[in-house]
């Protein structure tokens, strides 16, 4: 007996002008799932993930997060974004605020929660991403991996039900990739529902429940990582995997 999936994407089409970058994508993510979307660059992965939290509009199809229809002109974006956290490739921390302030801003200003309570939680979150002692550091004083972990903590402070990760290790130095992946892995183990666009195949294989392979705006193939990586059926998947593995 499976409950209603947390995220349901049905036949989504997205075009920038005349160029259609997503051509009918459907997928479903259950609570607690970790889903990795992989594929060559330009295949529409990042666009799809931005559609989920309404950062960009899409023309056709439906995305439902906890029953909230995203493709609705009367969408309450704030309500949607309380449920969906997002982490970006370039971290996008607010450079004029310290690590702790970056984490506290949204709960205080958006959710109007009391400062003392928020600060207590923010310090706990920094500890969780193993950045205790960096409370008062500005983003410019932190390494890429540290900034990305602050960005993860910043999203978690909103207590989302779903976390979106958009190639979050792509801009990092190789030696700091591991610490960020470890943080995401811990999140997944805690039961957070995660959708990741990633090029980290080893990570996808170990952490994901389901892998989706996209190419030129469509999902070519999907399946649990065991079968997906050892036994891909589509020739495009086979070609991609032989290049990256």
């Amino acid at each position: 007996m499976q409950a209603e999936p947390l995220l349901v994407i049905q036949d989504v089409h997205k075009a920038f002008g005349a160029i259609e970058v997503i051509k009918g994508v459907s997928l479903a993510v259950n609570k607690g799932d970790v889903v990795c979307i992989i594929g060559p660059s330009g295949s529409g992965k990042s666009t799809l993930i931005r559609c989920i939290n309404a950062l960009i509009p899409f023309q056709r199809g439906s995305i439902k997060v906890l029953g909230i229809e995203v493709n609705d002109p009367k969408l309450d974006k704030l309500k949607l974004r309380k449920h969906v956290g997002m982490v970006f490739q370039q971290y996008n921390l607010f450079p004029h605020r310290t690590a702790l302030q970056n984490i506290m801003m949204a709960p205080i200003e958006v959710l109007k929660r009391p400062r003392a309570e928020v600060e207590f939680e923010a310090r706990a979150l920094l500890k969780k991403v193993r950045l205790e002692g960096k409370e008062n550091a500005y983003p410019g004083e932190l390494s890429g991996g540290q900034q990305q972990r602050v960005a993860i903590a910043r999203s978690l402070a909103m207590k989302p039900d779903l976390m979106l990760f958009d190639e979050v290790t792509a801009a990092l130095d190789p030696e700091t990739v591991g610490e960020v992946l470890l943080t995401i892995r811990q999140l997944a183990e805690d039961g957070m529902t995660c959708v990741l666009v990633t090029h980290e195949m080893g990570f996808a294989r170990e952490v994901a429940n389901e892998i989706y392979f996209t190419d030129r705006g469509v999902i070519v193939e999907h399946g649990p990582p065991g079968r997906f990586f050892t036994n891909p059926t589509d020739p495009r998947t086979q070609a991609f995997l032989s290049q990256v593995l």
């Binding site: 939290n53 996008n92 607010f94 909103m158």
Partner: protein, 276 residues
């Protein structure tokens, strides 16, 4: 133009988005001093009788000229304050998501940025009444106050443009990150974008102030008793001799140099600090 090339692209856009930068160097001051000091010698060499040396005339009239210069500073302060307030509002309208508001703000900005300052000054002189009646309150509008308003208009338009440039120099990913955290558009602007852009607004704002200060002399044309008007009167009182012309106006120039050079210097210092 060489100085612009030294600036990073974002600052370049923010400062040239308004007015060319006022770049003063110490040798400018030295050159002005030379004009003042060299002319009396020229006068003697020409063989004319020198009723009193130019320096003595300058010293005698210094209290009056300084009082006039004080009015220039007062006009510059008030124009800057009014222009900054109005310009901030106009600048916010320039980046509004509402097209009608943005288009209106754009037209106003373009008009007042491109209109000659002197024409705006004339307009205000003749359009504004001698006094304003607000309810039971009567507010006198002397000429210098009209000049304040006339000069505040181009300041407003340039401030709006400085604000827009600074906001646009912040990467769009900052808006995106703020939006994904649920901040409203106005929260994004006031909590995240403006605080980051603020630092970039200061140098062009100071540059604008330095240019405004020198432009307050335009008020002499519409009869305000500021330093250039008074210098003309001093020249008349001293017989209007050509010998006095260069030292007298050179002296006025020196006053402006002494006042604006530190501003110009500080502007460049801030630009360099922001760039690093």
């Amino acid at each position: 133009m060489r100085v612009f090339l030294e600036l990073p692209p974002t600052l370049h856009r923010a400062s040239t988005g308004s007015l060319p930068a006022l770049r003063l160097a110490p040798w400018h001051g030295a050159a002005i001093l030379l004009i003042i000091l060299a002319t009396p010698l020229y006068g003697y060499a020409a063989g004319g009788p020198a009723p009193s040396s130019a320096l003595a005339v300058l010293v005698r009239w210094t209290p009056l000229l300084l009082r006039g210069f004080g009015l220039n500073i007062l006009i510059s302060f008030m124009s800057m304050a009014i222009g900054t307030l109005l310009g901030a509002g106009l600048g916010i309208a320039l980046i509004s998501e509402r097209i009608a508001l943005r288009a209106t703000a754009w037209s106003i900005t373009q008009f007042f940025r491109n209109a000659p300052w002197l024409i705006l000054l004339f307009f205000m002189m003749y359009l504004l009444p001698y006094s304003l009646h607000l309810g039971g309150l009567t507010l006198a509008l002397p000429d210098w106050l009209k000049a304040v308003i006339g000069l505040a208009l181009p300041v407003m338009a340039n401030i709006a443009e400085i604000l827009r440039g600074a906001v646009q120099s912040i990467p769009p990913s900052q808006w995106e990150a703020a939006e994904s955290l649920g901040f409203t558009r106005s929260q994004q602007l006031w909590l995240i974008i403006i605080p980051q852009g603020f630092r970039r607004m200061i140098p062009p704002w100071m540059n604008l102030y330095a240019i405004l200060t020198t432009s307050t002399t335009l008020a002499s044309i519409v009869g305000v008793n500021e330093v250039v008007t008074l210098a003309g009167q001093v020249l008349g009182a001293e017989g209007g001799g050509p010998d006095l012309l260069a030292p007298l106006y050179g002296y006025v120039l020196l006053l402006f140099f002494i006042y604006t050079y530190p501003i110009s210097w500080a502007t460049r210092w801030l630009e360099r600090r922001n760039a690093s």
